[in-house]
């Protein structure tokens, strides 16, 4: 387990910025109640076996005596590096993203299951959408009851969405909670 490099940190922050925008500050400086001391520490990022974890400092300190071979996970895993060196966010980061998301999309009940199977979000399944979405933005997908279902990349801006035909793709699927059942091994 080691802290992230400069380059690695920039890559991760860029990805996060797509989804949370200025709330990135909140994420990084979030006071945490974890750890046995009562004074809140802060969170940090750590790299372990090509996976990036978002953990509070108290946890990090106490995980140091676990050897590298045996340490499996700390806190929350938010993504992993590929062989090529690019960084992908995984579904396990959904909690953090959902709490701080700038761009949100709400799905109709009928198309929830379709998204959970890994399909993209179509115009016909769109319930609500936040304004000022630019193509290429990160979008977090919710159900109508505000249950976070996953996230993806916006394919069209908000205004374009209104003009789209019902089968047009609005959000490109990146991760959804159905992966906990489908791709357990990948996590």
């Amino acid at each position: 387990m080691r802290p992230l490099d400069e380059t690695e940190t920039t890559v991760v922050f860029e990805k996060l910025f797509k989804f949370v925008g200025n709330n990135l500050k909140k994420i990084v400086e979030n006071p945490s109640d974890e750890g046995p001391e009562s004074t809140p520490g802060s969170y940090c990022f750590r790299l372990q076996k090509n996976r990036v974890y978002y953990v509070s400092e108290a946890l990090v300190k106490r995980a140091t005596n676990i050897s590298r071979k045996n340490l499996v996970s700390l806190g929350t895993c938010i993504g992993k590096y590929t062989h090529a060196g690019s960084f992908h966010l995984t579904i396990m980061s959904l909690n953090i993203l959902a709490a701080n998301a700038k761009h949100k999309v709400w799905l109709k009940p009928t198309s929830e299951m379709s998204f959970l199977y890994g399909n993209h979000v179509l115009k016909g399944g769109l319930g609500r959408i936040t304004d000022s979405i630019v193509p290429g933005d990160g979008v977090v997908v919710f159900s109508m009851s505000d249950v976070p279902l996953g996230f993806g990349i916006a394919a069209k801006s908000t205004q374009d969405c209104r003009k789209l035909d019902p089968n047009g793709i609005v959000v490109l699927h990146q991760a959804d909670i159905g992966e906990y059942l489908r791709d357990e091994d990948e996590l």
Partner: protein
């Protein structure tokens, strides 16, 4: 008492001509009405002389006449009855009293049958006695002349009745014998029969009836004891039958038979054949039980709160959607978890901002519950030895939104070395076990578990519990607790392990807070455990409708190993020598010989580990060790004294508790 007296009276009156009160058509002279019915019930009584009978009749009936009201009513009834009877019998009697004996006897038979079944129509007898009282008194003079004939008739009828009675009794006895012989035939099939059975496929209905017979016999062995069969033989046959009917291997069925009385054993085995109800636990980090229940009801799930003792549990009766694949499940609002798995975490009762270790965490149901109770504060070490199970553990933790957990992959016995001794507040050890409590989930346990496997598990569990105890800080402000739980029913894996821990470490048992379970065994066959073991709890499928489970909560009193009562300084550094000395002494004194072997093994392990430690420490340790070995005799005396004091203290405590 009145019944007895009446019976006696009736017995005496049995010689009077038989007049069945029940059989009204046959109206013998009013005198004899009451007596006959009772007399018929009695087995053939001798016939005293008539005169005496009359006198006896008069004398015996006088006290009955005290109840005037009853008598008067009875007399009215009796008069009407007598009239009816006399009318009926008048018709018959005129034709030939004796010729109608057969008919009467038939009637007698019928009435006999009725009387037999009814036991004793004592009320009727009462009434009739009372009825006959006044009538007898009144009709004495009239019936004198008819007495002789009547007496003869009555004697004949009496004889026949007595015969029939005797026959009926004989029949009953024969039936009983037949039942017993049937018992015999089923219970102890001869070797030939057993061979025959063994040749073909097992005859299930036959086995079932035999099992039921044996269980019935064992429940009330005095009454149903088949001749010539010892209890042991019955039990052996029962074991064989249960094994072949339900599919258990002989070892497992043998241990179950030892633990439960026959009736309860049947209930347990039947319960193992069925599934326990599916239950889920609300994730309080994300939602509340009420809200979750609403959402699931909308999806078409039929559910109810689990029970009084849980605020987060829900039981699922049936569901239109797969309960393990709803969006709510995937979003981490609930976890599929058996009701018995709630119990160790409830016993552990973690507080916020504590350090907790879960020694065998996968798949993570209990770990996530602990995190929910702690509200994501504090710190949890979730350890799992098997690599393939780590993925599901990590996935569950992330799905449920748990952030205060470190997942590591160690053998539980190494954890104290890694995490440090005396560092954490609470430890949950849900030990790997034989799984004999969850046979309803996994039927392969029925045939695959042998005595050796149980021993291996028990050995592993003992090592793990010592490691768990070593990790806990006895001086922790809020904690110092270890919860040990297994999903097994075997005493060797449950009470024996706790007893071992109590001997080896300075811990004591405390109440789990789960009062609805059964208390653990304080003694079992040849084992005698410490009396505080009744604070542990056992849960059974047939009693509590959850998987078989065992939970024990220990509190660590001090950070020492259980050997010294002397200097604190010398203790921890010279632990190894003291442990070895004391173990030698204690091993002699203690009755359980099996544990000797294990202790020597673990002793050697400890010695090897601690030898390394002591060598690495400064050389002061070694001279100390030599000095202490010289003072061995002194140690022995002190230890013996301390042990006696403890025994006295325990006895006093036991008396106080009583």
């Amino acid at each position: 008492m009145p019944a007895l007296t009446r019976n006696k009276k009736k017995g005496a009156k049995s010689q009077t001509p038989p007049t069945k009160q029940v059989t009204k058509p046959r109206t013998p002279p009013s005198k004899t009405q009451s007596k006959p019915q009772t007399t018929t019930l009695k087995k053939g009584a001798k016939k005293p002389p008539l005169k005496k009978q009359k006198k006896e009749v008069v004398v015996e009936e006088e006290p009955l006449e005290e109840d005037d009201e009853v008598v008067s009513d009875a007399s009215i009834d009796s008069e009407s009855e007598e009239l009816d009877e006399s009318d009926d019998e008048g018709g018959k009697g005129s034709n030939g009293f004796f010729s109608d004996d057969e008919e009467e006897n038939d009637d007698d038979d019928e009435t006999l049958g009725d009387d037999f079944l009814e036991g004793s129509g004592e009320e009727e007898e009462e009434e009739e006695e009372e009825e006959e009282g006044p009538s007898d008194v009144g009709s004495d003079s009239d019936s004198d002349e008819d007495d002789d004939d009547l007496v003869k008739q009555s004697e004949a009828i009496d004889r026949k009745l007595a015969k029939q009675k005797a026959d009926a009794d004989a029949e009953q006895q024969e039936l009983n014998k037949q039942d017993e012989s049937e018992h015999d035939a089923f219970r102890l099939p001869t070797e030939e029969e057993l061979e025959e059975e063994a040749r073909g496929p097992p005859d299930l209905p036959l086995l079932k009836t035999r099992i039921e017979d044996i269980v019935r016999a064992l429940k009330n062995f005095k009454a149903f004891r088949p001749a010539g069969a010892t209890r042991k033989e019955c039990v052996e046959q029962l074991k064989a039958d249960l094994g072949s009917y339900y599919g258990y291997n002989s070892f497992l069925i043998g241990t179950l038979v030892e633990m439960f009385p026959p009736g309860e054993l049947m209930e347990l085995i039947e319960a193992f054949e069925k599934q326990r109800p599916t239950s889920i636990r609300t994730n309080t980090l994300k939602t509340r039980r009420r809200d979750l229940a609403d959402v699931l009801l909308n999806r078409g799930v039929n559910l109810d709160p689990l029970s009084k003792w849980s605020k987060v549990g829900l039981v699922i009766y049936d569901s239109q959607v797969p309960i393990g694949a709803t969006p709510e499940y995937l979003a981490g609002y609930y976890m599929l978890q058996g009701a018995s798995s709630f119990l160790p975490v409830m016993a552990l009762a973690p507080r916020e901002n504590e350090r907790i270790v879960d020694v065998a965490a996968a798949p993570g149901g209990k770990t996530t519950y602990i995190a929910a109770l702690m509200k994501n504060t504090g710190l949890i070490y979730a350890n799992e030895m098997k690599v393939p199970r780590l993925k599901s553990l990590t996935a569950n933790l992330h799905r449920m939104g748990v952030t205060n957990t470190i997942v590591c992959n160690y053998d539980g016995r190494e954890l104290p070395k890694v995490l440090g001794q005396n560092t954490v507040d609470r430890v949950l050890l849900d030990a790997p076990c034989s799984g004999t409590g969850v046979i309803s989930k996994d039927e392969s346990v029925k045939i695959s578990k042998t005595a050796d496997e149980i021993k291996k598990f028990a050995h592993l569990q003992k090592q793990l519990i010592l490691a768990a105890i070593d990790m806990v800080d006895a001086n922790s402000k809020t904690g110092g607790y270890i919860v040990y739980s297994t999903c097994s029913l075997m005493v060797a894996e449950n009470e024996a392990v706790i007893d071992y821990a109590l001997k080896k470490r300075d811990v004591k048992l405390v109440t789990c807070g789960l009062d609805f379970g059964r208390k653990g065994f304080t003694r079992f066959r040849e084992h005698r455990f410490q009396p505080s073991l009744d604070k542990t709890r056992r849960f059974y499928p047939h009693v509590h409708n959850m998987d078989g489970f065992f939970v024990a909560k220990l509190k660590k009193m001090s950070n020492m190993t259980k050997s010294s009562e002397d200097d604190d300084e010398a203790v921890e550094t010279v632990e190894q020598d003291e442990v070895s000395d004391d173990d030698d002494d204690e091993a002699e004194a203690i009755e359980e010989n099996r544990n000797k072997e294990r202790r020597t093994k673990s002793k050697e392990d400890k010695r090897s580990k601690k030898d390394k430690k002591s060598k690495s420490e400064n050389g002061n340790v070694e001279p100390k060790a030599r000095k202490q070995k010289k003072k061995r005799s002194e140690w022995k005396n002190e230890i013996a004294q301390a042990r006696e004091e403890k025994r006295i203290a325990m006895r006093e405590k036991a008396k106080e508790k009583k």
